[in-house]
């Protein structure tokens, strides 16, 4: 469980990035953190594995206050996949890249071998086991970065902009993958601008603006509220836009799911046909 109490953070340069944030994320929750550029999303999640320590307030992860332990200790529980894979890839082979963190955490060689194989299979990277990560395409590098974090099986997983530069198929794979993690009881946090992706996943949404939390609730509620969205320069998902336009005809405007949209429309047409 992650508990944030009145968190303030000011960068050494004097920029106040977080201005009093309080929230609670339960085990096994799926949370999307959204908001315009510079809203403080990445700054917030960097507090969850101790990369940043609060200027004021407290962050408690699994009952441990983040100021009391090192990043390495927290990282064992909290996996953080950075936005740009090129900021972490350095090893000669994909295999070594994935085992890097495992060696840091002191796993035994036989366990490392097993975990690496498991992670490679999970993300469909088996054929690149002995390839240099620098030879891979952008999307593949992103998957290697993800695999290198998943390998130590953290309880909480933070993904910073996982959908950037991914084609639709890869996004869909990622979505399936997150759902799979959820069934294993993992907590997943996603920092993203991708409204359509969030609409399809339907997680809890935290909306940030200017270092503050301006909305916290189900995607269905937050992403269909034009007033809140306008405040944080987010355009509603396409299907919601359609239903907002149709709301004058008596349709509900809080729809983000394609399947639900289809059912609603069919029902209305059915009624009209009768």
């Amino acid at each position: 469980m992650i508990e944030v109490q009145d968190l303030h953070f000011t960068y050494p340069s004097g920029v106040e990035a977080l201005k009093g944030i309080s929230l609670k994320i339960e085990d096994g929750e799926f949370v999307a953190i959204m908001g315009e550029n510079g809203a403080g999303k990445t700054t917030l999640v960097k507090h969850f594995n101790g990369l940043l320590k609060p200027t004021k307030g407290r962050v408690i992860v699994n009952g441990i206050e983040t100021t009391k332990v090192s990043v390495a200790t927290l990282a064992r529980k909290v996996g953080f996949v950075f936005q740009n894979p090129d900021h972490q890839l350095f090893a000669e082979t994909v295999e070594e890249e994935i085992s890097f963190a495992l060696r840091n955490f002191g796993f035994s060689p036989s366990v490392i071998e097993k975990r690496v194989t498991w992670a490679l299979n999970l993300l469909g990277l088996m054929q690149y086991r002995k390839t240099s990560p620098f030879m891979l395409s952008g999307g593949e590098r992103k998957r290697v970065a993800l695999a290198s974090v998943l390998a130590w099986d953290p309880e909480i997983l933070i993904l910073d902009e996982p959908t950037i530069g991914q084609d639709y198929q890869q996004k869909e794979n990622l979505r399936q993958f997150i759902m799979q993690l959820r069934t294993q009881g993992k907590t997943v946090l996603v920092v993203t601008h991708d409204v359509e992706f969030v609409a399809e996943c339907n997680p809890r949404v935290l909306l940030m603006r200017g270092g503050k939390l301006i909305a916290d609730g189900a995607a269905r509620k937050v992403l269909t509220d034009p007033e809140i969205l306008a405040q944080s320069s987010i355009v509603p998902p396409q299907i919601t836009q359609l239903f907002i336009e149709l709301s004058s005809l008596g349709f509900p405007s809080d729809i983000i799911d394609l399947y639900e949209a289809r059912e609603t429309l069919l029902k209305a047409f059915g009624a009209a046909a009768k």
Partner: protein, 265 residues
């Protein structure tokens, strides 16, 4: 990092910022030469103090103080080492000569940092490149120079992100013995170098697609021209140099011990 912070250019409008970079560079160099001419404390202190009005005029007091603070550590090392050496040489006695020498060496360093910090704080990299160009340095070199300066903060920021990413994968930089600690930096250096090379290739492609180097003879939108204030500073600097040489050669420079004696009697 804090010492380099004190060298980073900030866009402020002030009479000092408007001066010609070439004149400012000459000024910094001559201050340096004058500082080397003297090994007595009093003239070096004077040299240090007369530059303070420049700092105030340029409105970079905060940044300047930061660079001075950054230099303080090295300055105290210089003081300690010099003082210790003359302390031992003079047979374990604290003498005015030893104190003066150590203070003078410290202030020589501080004067150097001060003058160059004024130069870098008040000169934009663009102006620097322009100055290089107009002193007939080939344009390729000028461009490489300004680009290098321009990318230093970008690289520093990137290094921080990489460090965060590797720490998030359990890397502990301060762990292990000396050799191990150096090895700990490999996962940070490799991504940094790779991305620097990638970026330079991308930059080259972007430049070529914008027709870099098409015309052999380049013209500039801004031409550097010496104005009245530039001539004033240039004159002051030259006078300072001449006066310093004159004082060095023909006038006695008061020493700390003499001043102390004078007041003691």
């Amino acid at each position: 990092m804090s010492m380099f912070d004190g060298l980073k250019y900030r866009r402020v409008f002030s009479p000092i910022h408007n001066l010609d970079p070439r004149v400012k560079f000459t000024y910094a160099c001559i201050i340096f030469i004058v500082a080397i001419l003297f090994w007595e404390f009093i003239p070096l202190l004077v040299l240090f103090v007369i530059q303070v009005p420049f700092v105030i005029l340029a409105r970079v007091r905060r940044e300047w103080l930061r660079s001075m603070k950054g230099a303080a550590f090295l300055a105290s090392v210089i003081f300690t080492v010099n003082f210790a050496v003359s302390f031992i040489n003079s047979g374990y006695m604290i003498t005015f000569v030893a104190l003066e020498y150590a203070l003078a060496m410290t202030f020589r360093f501080l004067v150097l940092v001060e003058s160059f910090s004024i130069f870098f704080l008040t000169t934009s990299p663009d102006h620097l490149g322009l100055a290089l160009e107009q002193t007939r340095v080939p344009y390729e070199f000028c461009f490489a120079f300004t680009t290098a300066v321009r990318f230093v903060p970008v690289l520093a920021e990137e290094a921080q992100t990489i460090m965060d990413a590797q720490k998030a994968r359990g890397l502990e930089l301060e762990k292990g013995n000396f050799l191990r600690r150096i090895r700990n930096y490999i996962p940070i250096l490799i991504p940094l170098i790779v991305s620097a090379i990638r970026r330079s290739l991308e930059l080259a492609e972007a430049m070529e697609s914008r027709a870099w180097g098409v015309s052999k003879k380049r013209t500039n939108l801004y031409e550097l021209k010496l104005h009245g204030s530039d001539y004033v500073l240039l004159t002051v600097t030259v006078v300072l140099l001449v006066a310093a040489i004159y004082v060095r050669l023909y006038l006695p420079v008061p020493r700390l011990a003499e001043i102390f004696d004078y007041f003691a009697h």
